[in-house]
């Protein structure tokens, strides 16, 4: 039974995201900033008539401006939680790949800050990916007090 994963780049790292966590992938246009909110909230973006809250995932994970986050990024993953829609900004998107194997446990040393978001590891075509959990990102956005 194949599971589909989207390979995305977050904060310079290529990660795999299970497609059942993803509603859509879009290019975001102009973002309305939301001053006064945590720095990882990039602002608001209107997708047709929906208003999405744009989250800079790299900044949420690392807690600081990454090199990548200073460059212009317009790829975002759309998902929903608690009745609100979010657009998660990523550096780049590659492809969707089917993976037949069970996810492996993480055997490599990983950054403490990444740990909560990593739910396993994959190997595909000779490359290794972390499985990145969108649910964890959304949890943090729905209960912002725990992050701030």
């Amino acid at each position: 039974m194949n599971i589909l994963y989207l390979i995305a780049h977050i904060g310079g790292t290529a990660v795999a995201i299970a497609t059942d966590e993803i509603e859509a992938v879009v290019r975001v246009g102009e973002i309305t900033p939301a001053p006064g909110t945590p720095p990882y909230v990039a602002g608001l973006f209107a997708l047709r008539s929906r208003v999405l809250t744009v989250i800079d995932v790299a900044m949420l994970v690392s807690g600081q401006m990454s090199e990548a986050s200073s460059t212009h990024r317009d790829h975002a993953i759309i998902c929903e939680a608690g009745g609100h829609s979010y657009a998660l900004l990523v550096d780049d998107l590659e492809d969707i790949i089917p993976v037949g194997d069970e996810p492996q446990t993480v055997d490599r040393q990983i950054d403490e800050r990444w740990k909560p978001y990593v739910k396993g590891a994959l190997e595909q075509g000779g490359r290794a990916f972390f499985i990145f959990s969108i649910a964890t990102v959304l949890e943090r956005c729905c209960a912002p007090a725990s992050v701030v």
Binding site: E30, T32, P33, A34, P35, G36, T37, P38, V41, L44, F45, A46, R48, S49, R50, V51, T53, I55, G82, G83, H84, Y86, C141, C142, A143, P144, A145, V148
Partner: protein, 813 residues
Amino acid sequence: MDDLLSEFIAETQESLDALTNVVVALEADPSDLSLLDQLCRFFHTVKGSCGFLNLPRFERLSHAAEDVLSDFRSEGHIPDAATISAVLAVMDRIAELCVAVHAGESLPDRDDDELIAILRRCRQPGMLCAGEDVSPTLAAQKTIALPWPGDDDGTSSRALPTTRTVRLPLRLIDQLMNGMSDMVLTRNELARQLRNGDATPESVAAFERLSSSIADMRDIISKTRMQPVDRLFQAAPRMVRDLSRELGKVIHLSLDGGGVDMDREMIEMVVDPLTHIVRNSISHGIETPDERRMMGKTEAGLLSLSAYQSGSQIVIEVTDDGRGVDVDAVANKVVRAGLMSAHQMALLDHQEKLDLIFTPGISTAEKVTPVSGRGVGMDVVRANIERLGGTISLYSEPGRGLTITMRVPMTLTIIPGLTLRAGGLGFAIPQSAVIEIAHETNPMVSVCERDGALTATIRDTRYSMVNLETVLGLPVLCESGPRTLMLVRSATGVPYILGVSLVDNHEELVIRPAAPVVMASGLYAGMTLPDNGQPMLLLDAAGVAQVVELPLIVENVSAVSDDEADRARKMVHYQALRFTELTGEERVIRLSLVDRVEKIPLAAFSVTGGRGHVTIGGQSLLSVHPVHAETLPTGVSEVHCIRIRDGVVDLCYPVRAVLDVQDVPQDMDRAASAGLVAGVVLLDGQPVEVIDDVAILALNPDFQREEVPSLRCLIADREDIWNRQILAPLLMQAGYQVLWGEEAGADTPSDIIMITGSAANQEDTPAGSLPAPVLRLRSSHSPAHPADDSIYRYDRAAVLNALAAAAGQRSAA
């Protein structure tokens, strides 16, 4: 009342359906107390509602059932099967009655007493109903008590309510609303594209149809959230009945819902303030029958609740024909509580004083009754209404009644809002949060910064101020026009000033909730997507003040009242002449005192005994300040003088320069009377001293002599040096005639006798035996004992007041 009745029936039937399962579950697990609670609540609700709907059979049945169940509950006993059967039988009977009432038919004439008796028998734990005893009866009851819904004895034709309802979770309706606004926005987008591209007439026509059906749909969906306003008044009849009995009053209640619909949530939020107002009317407003008869009113008071629609607002009025608000009592309370000075109070008109009833902690109730006066006052009512984006106002006719008008928006999801810009970004703010908007350059407005904290004064009121850019950490951009100051409401009701680049526009905004991560900032109340497709955040004015911990100040009168009346209020100003003193300070003097400004040669000034004089045209006038040539810049040969005249007084006020004529607020920013200065006002952000009108006129030696009626003061002890050297000159200077005790002899007529020295605080001088009123002057600062009515002898003002009072009495006599 018909609406209320049908709603009651519908609700009861719904609850009955749901509760059947609860009873069954209770039977399965009789120890589950939460199920028992649910049942009790149901019977309690039915009992409460049918009291004023005049449904005695409902009331008796539900009352009996509640009694029995709550006994079980409080004693911790577990209801047995027979009890549960009995309860079910009562529920069935209620269902049966519902159908009959709804169909408007006479109630099935069956014996409720039997059911109740069975119930009551279950009540004694010792006498748990033996199944054999009751069951046959119950079984019989059950078969006949189940005509609803599928019975065929003729009741089926009238079985169900004609308007059928389903209950929906509010969330589903919200989703519908959101879907709807999505459609509206998509339509707008489509309209733009059609305008830009080359649309065929066919597609334009199709678009028009789509447009109009979307508009219809939007109306219908908005209505799903709406309920008749009558619902708001549902609890009123019962409350009026109970309270009026308790207080021994007779009250006719009239309700008029006006067929208006209102957002369900809004209704729920208005219920509490309305209840409070109705309670106040009954307990404080409407008098007892006796009092009313004495005042020539009908014995029964009239209380009317009405609602009607006005634009996008619902107006709810509560009118009674009671005694109205005792405005002076309210004013006194505010003054006594130290919230305003008597001086400030004197400047308020009737309506403004009335609005003081919204001051926190002020209640007109003289004593706490079980009903009102428990410290939760009209301030809370107003805060609640304002939180909904509404307003509240009072109209009182003393002795005739009081009308309280609440205006609330029909719905919370579409609100009138203002869009504004700050730091290059766009924001929205609910219009209801904004009291006033002014440009920074408005002459009525001045901004001043002290220790990094901003304050802004609009007319005569100073508020705390913060720039939105500062709150949000945005740069303050240089805009072409002046910045805009918005006077907005905070959570406490004390308004503050929010500075922004500019206020753009006024539009109806569809508000949607923002993501929790955005709401957590505390600055925003939601977000909106205007027609241009750029999302906008909706500012929460109260939240902004809390987040930046703005010290909320309002200096002077408006501290206790920021209502609309305030804005419309004519600020009391007077025209004043602003000038620079010889010594350099800036001061203002009331223009009406000024006769003219002229230049007088330096040589005309002279100084005698420390007082300045000026000789003009052979006449010597008092100069307010002595003019010393050596203190003036060299080469000056003439001095600017303000000539002050009020018919009697003629003074010359030498100044360095006359600056301007300005409007000066009557209310001083700091009243601090010292010499010629009455206090300080802020003009153009600068503190300027105000000349005390009375003090300056009093300078003229002729002035007091004109005013003082003659009074013969008899001073008892001539030997006393203080009497001779201090008191007598003071009296003479004040224009009174001085007589000495020994010389005058006991029978010389005098108007007042002044007793000084050690005799003053001795009670043994029998006041009654003397031929005139006595004024005792004591040499100690504080009174010797509580009953001591003497005056401290150096309290010049008090002494002169006492003499003036005596003079007044004499001339009146």
